[in-house]
Symmetry: C2
Subunit: 523 residues, 2 copies
């Protein structure tokens, strides 16, 4: 497939009218063809108009048809073959194996949402049958289902060019819910975006859906993004990226005449707690696991372990020593973009002003290579200095040495909201871990025991979310099948004749849903 | 029980330090004793600190204990007996029978949430068991439950001094979710608020819960409200009231360092569609039902039918004629407060400038009595004039005459978000009604056939919500058991030893929950 540099507005390929973006191969600092001219307000308007036209039809597609559409997207992405892997690798500096793994995850995710759509539990069907004889007043027949919110704007992330981008979790869950999607491609991987976008547009056609179900726009500045978020036909936003970017979108969405929900996944330093018995028993193994998690993918994961919290003492010293011995053996890795590399350098410099450097990875040997860093500080310093809990996106972490369990609790209470919190414990640590759990439950969306936070399973129970600033909406997850719930709202139908009810609510229960019927869950 | 004029900060009764509010009997325009001195920032801070202290304990109370607490509140409210009815009636001008009915609804609501708490479906437990042999990577054990968001600020409504006030739906659902509640009493019924607040505080004590689970504050201006919404320990807000008040709270909540969700139920004119065959067959009965719904409770319901939409013609003329003949027989009714009466007069005057008066109710014979009004306009005028869809809180409605089905659709698309939309149909109207349904589903939280929107059942399937400005969050309902979902967030536990897991997630399923286990719903 030849890349065209064009946007997709429904089934139409169109060139933008604004400044072009061009991917840069971060490993060589060279630009990649073709150029992607940015869209303008009018093109945003076209995409939103098509999405709006498609909405009422698409949201009422049969569950089986919608599921088949998601599966067709997955098939089409797989059919792109090596071209997708090569382009994504060139645009991101990520190795082919990683892109292949991410492709598997992305297609698996689409198929997981297909299963979720078919199961239909997200419809949350509730039926309260009429009680005409009730005193003092009769009860009407009341039936509730969930429907799609409306067209959704999705902003692709830089660090997962497939799994959190054009056909990533936000798009998959919004399409699953019945929402048309307009994607603003991330400027770091426009070619990957075009390939995947065309795979989706092709699926729209194959499945005979209205073309407005999917559009893909490019833009170098924030014109397209703001036009999208403020378009009255857009009813929700999915975003993965920086805290400043996410907050700006939230503010734009709230300032609309009709405010809309924004699901922004933004910033997390993912504290890892090393409890005394575990640390005493296996400081070496913990340090090895930690360094592996820290440096994986150049540390460019939302769930990268950016903070280690433990009691000061000989065991923690051993942990720091082993980690510090390992780090100089870790090669500097090419980061995703020159911008991310430069922000990483700035973040490391700032940390270096406020905390002690314990160790560094190998120095860079090429452009945009991030050098791993390990810093150490004292709990009191951490409590006094907000710079120390700013996210540094990359392979950098900070060890916070606590005097005692009470100081560990204070440090924990001082943390902002997080995607994850990890506890390394042995049997003897359980009472202390249990005492800290209520704090961590308030702070993070996912709590792990004796693992590492990098690696986010796509499954029913996953929560990739958490209190602000981890996300803009702690009530939601952006990974896992529960992500579909973000794009739905309940509607109640009172005393409807059966013929006028949607299938999901009809008396005979043709979709075989497990309804909440007169207060009882159906078997 | 002697009213004290004091606030409740946990178990302590305290006098405020700011200007006092005093209820006014709207039927006589006379103030009622005692005075309720307003709280200040420090007292808000005390209440929030207590709520925060109570949070971790309260949110982990056993489901049975929490349910019993809700039932105890209901028992205590009933035990207040006639004193509550008399005071509420004096403070609102509402007849005793209406207050008695509302008391039944309020206590029934608390007991319904007790059943919901015991059932535990809101925990939404999802378990994905470990797959240590999975290739290429093993899967961890992942378990999700929902926990309470944190302390909730509740703003009581004027028009339901019991059911949407101190122990109303917001408080009941927040307490059910495991959130401590700090109520800002509505200044129109402070005595009712004190009585109910003391019933709750007594239940806190009887159930041996931490005192911070409930506090009740007064305030004449917006100092208390803004201090509450901006307190970092408050994690969500429930509000029922005016559009300007709700929007102000949303803005204050979004401007916090950590933004929080606000569930504001604000403004709705509740369109009623009279389809041709139904109108032809029973214009008289429809007009009678309409006037009864319009004038019930002086029209002071969020779901009051403020808009009638129909095709022009002889049948609609008959409807207007019958309604216009009935209206002059409707007595002017005392409105809830002098402020509401005055806003009603202003709203009616504005409408009178933009639409034709078809009929009026009986003129007032006492203070604060709202005179019913029926206006008529043409669809084109409605489309061109935003004044015509502003909510006028009271017994006023506007008939919009449409030329044809297409104009009816345009008028519908032009509507802002609504709590309800009502369709009066006969068999022959079904195709036309079906064609309009997609628009109405996008506009309203509840759709009714051949009924009247006033009267909101507390049940599982109810949706009392809808797109902005009906509410600030169309994803939610403030009435019915699904209201509990507003105050929860998911937390995932990865590879936790059973002993460290909350009961809801333990392997043996001690709470007997119907979990989503490895993708299958348990029977």
């Amino acid at each position: 497939m030849t890349l065209t540099g064009k946007m997709l507005i429904g089934q139409q390929s169109l060139s933008g009218h604004r400044d072009a973006i061009r991917a840069i191969n971060p490993a060589t600092d060279t630009p990649l063809e073709p150029a992607y001219a940015g869209g303008d307000g009018e093109q945003v308007e076209q995409a939103c108009a098509l999405a709006w036209d498609a909405f009422d039809t698409y949201r009422e597609t049969a569950l089986a048809d919608r599921a088949r559409f998601l599966e067709t997207i997955a098939d089409n992405i797989e059919a792109l073959g090596d071209e997708l892997v090569e382009r994504a690798s060139a645009e991101t500096g990520l190795p082919s194996a990683r892109i292949q793994g991410e492709r598997g995850r992305t297609c698996g995710q689409l198929r997981a949402f297909a299963r979720t759509v078919r199961l239909g539990e997200w419809l949350d069907v509730r039926v309260d049958t009429a009680q005409p004889q009730r005193q003092p007043l009769p009860r009407a027949d009341l039936r509730q289902r969930h429907i799609a919110l409306g067209p959704v704007a999705v902003f692709g992330a830089s660090n997962f060019p497939l799994a959190f981008s054009v056909a990533g979790g936000d798009t998959a869950s919004a399409l699953a819910a019945g929402c048309p999607v307009v994607v603003k491609a991330h400027s770091a991987h426009p070619g990957t975006s075009e390939l995947v976008g065309r795979a989706i547009a092709q699926a729209v056609k194959q499945c005979d859906l209205p073309e407005g179900v999917f559009s893909l726009l490019y833009g170098s500045g924030n014109e397209v993004g703001i036009a999208l978020v403020t378009d009255p036909r857009i009813k929700a936003v999915g975003f993965t990226g920086s805290r400043s970017g996410g907050v700006a979108l939230c503010q734009a969405a709230q300032a609309r005449p009709e405010p809309i929900p924004v699901y922004a996944e933004m910033s997390s330093i993912n504290p890892v707690y090393l409890f005394p018995a575990a640390l005493e028993a296996r400081a070496q193994a913990l340090a090895e696991g930690f360094v592996a998690s820290l440096t994986q993918g150049a540390g460019q994961f939302c769930t990268n372990p950016g903070l280690v919290i433990a009691l000061q003492g000989a065991a923690l010293e051993r942990f720091i020593t082993v980690a510090s011995d390992l780090l100089p053996g870790c090669a500097a890795q090419t980061m995703l973009t020159p911008g991310i590399f430069s922000a990483y350098e700035t973040g490391v410099s700032t940390l270096a002003k406020h905390a002690k450097v314990a160790a560094k990875g190998l120095a860079a040997s090429g452009p945009n290579q991030g050098q791993a860093h390990l810093f150490v500080t004292q709990a009191q310093a951490f409590l006094n200095n907000e710079h120390l809990q700013a996210e540094v996106f990359g392979a950098t972490s900070l060890v916070v040495e606590c005097r005692d369990a009470e100081q560990m609790r204070l440090v924990s209470e001082h943390l902002e909201g997080q995607l994850t919190a990890t506890l390394h414990v042995d049997e003897h640590d359980l009472p202390q871990a249990r005492a800290l759990l209520p704090v961590l439950e308030r702070k993070a969306g996912r709590l792990l025991v004796n693992g590492w936070p990098t690696g986010v399973e796509v499954c029913d129970a996953m929560v990739h979310g958490g209190p602000f600033p981890a996300t803009s909406d702690a009530r939601s997850t952006s990974v896992g099948t529960a992500a579909i719930l973000r794009f739905l709202r309940p509607v109640c139908y009172q005393d409807f004749p059966d013929a006028l009810l949607p299938h999901a609510l009809q008396h005979s229960n043709p979709l075989l849903l497990r309804r909440l019927l007169d207060g009882q869950r159906e078997a």
